[in-house]
């Protein structure tokens, strides 16, 4: 669903081929197509399945189209956008999306870094601890959300309140976690799933450090903190950026946790959930599309900015 649709390859190919005539160009052109042939099925498939729908979304976003009122279908101009932007619910959803994404990404990034540092050291059973750490990420997201909602947060039989009773006896406080802190409940459930992800990327980063340099610094009398601050952290920077970017891409789109834990209630509806509702429940297609276009514009803005900062890692990867 990208707007960065690049018919570049074709255009570039045409550009690069000199005007027809000589035998050499003909051969080169055949060669070009022979090279392109294995790529084309994947490329064409992606353009049709991800780019075309988005073009339709843009068209519908300028239309008056509600499935409940099929007779009123027509051109709406920027009406949908005005309604989306001025709507208090949408603005709240934007705010929730930002809080949710920033909260989950920042907390799991810090936790992930600390745990990666712990796991970077040699100790007995490191492989087992690493496997235990990634388990939360391998629980189906819906199942994880159900687990947190019913088995952990539930005020009557959840584990959290059970532990409180264990610790403080029958008079222990028994808070209703989700009702008291709906957004934080979702954030913590997601942090539990995303910390392993951040940890894995950062651990890979830590293990790609040039060890001889660090060893030399140690011999030269640099202490652990200095090595971390002036050598490890700068080296980790692009890994931190990459995990933050990838984490943001996935968490911004989160639907499963919001849908399962609060059903978007208690002020926790984020943009994906709101759009889902506008379209699935309210059947206001024009408005849902306008909101979709706005989400895409926001994501592109963030992604171009973020991608530029992490592109070194990808460039290194592509530049074999």
């Amino acid at each position: 669903m990208s707007v960065e649709a690049k018919p570049d390859t074709k255009a570039a190919g045409r550009h690069a081929t000199p005007p027809p005539g000589s035998e050499g160009t003909l051969m080169r052109r055949t060669g070009d197509w022979a090279r392109r042939a294995p790529l084309l099925p994947a490329l064409v498939f992606m353009i049709i399945v991800t780019q075309l729908p988005f073009v339709v979304t843009i068209v519908v976003s300028f239309m008056d189209w509600n499935a409940y009122y099929p007779d009123e279908r027509g051109f709406a101009g920027i009406d949908n956008f005005r309604r989306v932007i001025t709507d208090a619910n949408t603005r709240h959803a934007i705010w929730v999306t930002i809080l949710l994404t920033a909260g989950v990404v920042l907390i799991s990034l810090v936790l992930g870094l600390l745990i990666a540092l712990l796991l970077d050291r040699k100790f007995r059973g490191r492989g087992i601890v690493r496997t235990m750490m990634i388990t939360p990420f391998l629980v189906v997201p819906v199942a994880a959300a159900l687990l947190w909602k019913h088995a952990l947060y539930n005020p009557t039989y959840g584990l959290f309140n059970g532990v409180l009773k264990w610790l403080f006896g029958d008079n222990a406080p028994q808070p209703d976690w989700i009702s008291n802190q709906p957004l934080w409940s979702i954030i913590f459930a997601l942090v539990w799933q995303w910390t392993p992800f951040m940890m894995l990327i950062l651990l890979a980063g830590l293990q790609s450090r040039p060890l001889d340099v660090i060893e030399a610094a140690g011999i030269d009398g640099a202490n652990q903190w200095e090595i971390f601050r002036y050598m490890t952290l700068p080296h980790l920077r692009q890994y931190l950026e990459l995990s933050a970017l990838l984490g943001s891409i996935y968490v911004v789109q989160n639907f499963d946790a919001v849908f399962t834990i609060t059903s978007g209630g208690l002020g926790t509806a984020n943009l994906p959930y709101t759009i889902y509702q506008t379209f699935y429940t309210a059947h206001d297609y024009g408005r849902a599309s306008a909101a979709g276009v706005i989400v895409v514009i926001g994501t592109i803005a963030i992604a171009t900015f973020a991608l530029r900062s992490v592109s070194t890692l990808f460039r290194e990867e592509t530049g074999r």
């Binding site: 390859t9 990327i201 889902y276």
Partner: protein
């Protein structure tokens, strides 16, 4: 190499190392604890599961699993398997030649093509959902598992292209030259020369695509009904507000997560590479 460093730092604080190792264990246990709790609860009776404070030593039973399977989850599990396996096969079929054209015999502007694939992952699924729904509705394709197969293929194709590309770029050039001297055609080269070398890479890419397809909820929730619903959709639907259901929910969550846990542990070493779209090795 890492051994040497451990010696250097280890000498300074062997006691500290012991404490930090213990801390790592505690953190690991804390993270896995909810899953263990889910596992234990799934083997308790509904009455024991709802006790507060919890009764750890309650007798174990398969009642939770039985009542989950009584709700008829098999069609949705079969749909999930169909959608995940077929879309993964399609992904590999499309991504493998594409990765070849982006690494071994690269097309012009191949970095742009790669970044085009990457950029499709950046944009929210929800923005394309409506047109897909309307299209599927108009051609009678709603509640059809093939629609999910196509969408999951597009969802995972960029991941597979990036991953396979980074594996393919490690194939020695000499082997390919030998194949071309022997007059092997492209599809033959791909099948008989390149594929065997990168089989482990293809396997881990496939496992990761399988996980993402299996986990997907939004598309499945909107585009399927009673016929093609997947296991995650089934999970969201069977929690009722009446009666005790905790053991059943835990059993269901374990059963539905099992394929992902198996695939994830199998692909553990390549998990980072897949999740970071090949950027981290």
């Amino acid at each position: 190499m890492s051994g040497q460093v451990t010696i250097v730092t280890g000498k300074k604080n062997r006691g500290g190392g012991f404490v930090l190792g213990g801390l790592a264990w505690i953190v690991g246990i804390l993270f896995v604890l909810p899953v263990l709790w889910m596992l234990l609860t799934s083997f308790h009776s509904e009455e024991d599961a709802a006790k507060n404070p919890p009764d750890l030593g309650a007798p174990l039973t398969l009642a939770g699993y039985k009542s989950f399977f009584d709700t008829g989850p098999w069609p949705s599990i079969a749909n999930s398997l169909t959608a995940s396996i077929l879309s993964t096969a399609l992904v590999i079929l499309l991504a493998f030649p594409a990765a070849y054209a982006l690494s071994i015999r690269p097309v012009k502007k191949w970095t742009d093509v790669l970044f085009f694939f990457l950029s499709t992952k950046m944009l929210p699924v929800v923005a394309g959902l409506l047109p897909i729904y309307l299209f599927a509705q108009s051609v009678g394709f709603l509640d059809n598992v093939w629609l999910l197969i196509i969408l999951y293929t597009s969802m995972n194709l960029p991941i597979a292209v990036w991953m396979l590309r980074s594996f393919l770029s490690e194939v020695p050039v000499e082997i390919l030259e030998a194949a071309s001297v022997d007059g092997a055609t492209l599809s033959r080269t791909l099948r008989s020369v390149v594929a065997p070398i990168v089989t482990p890479g293809i396997a881990s890419a496939a496992l990761i695509c399988f996980i993402f397809s299996w986990n997907e909820l939004l598309f499945a929730r909107v585009l399927t009904g009673t016929v093609a619903q997947t296991a995650p959709v089934f999970l969201t639907g069977f929690v009722t507000s009446q009666g005790l259901f905790l053991a059943k929910v835990c059993a269901a969550s374990i059963v539905v997560s099992l394929p992902v846990l198996i695939a994830g542990f199998a692909a553990q070493d390549k998990l980072v590479q897949g999740l970071s779209l090949g950027a981290v090795k």
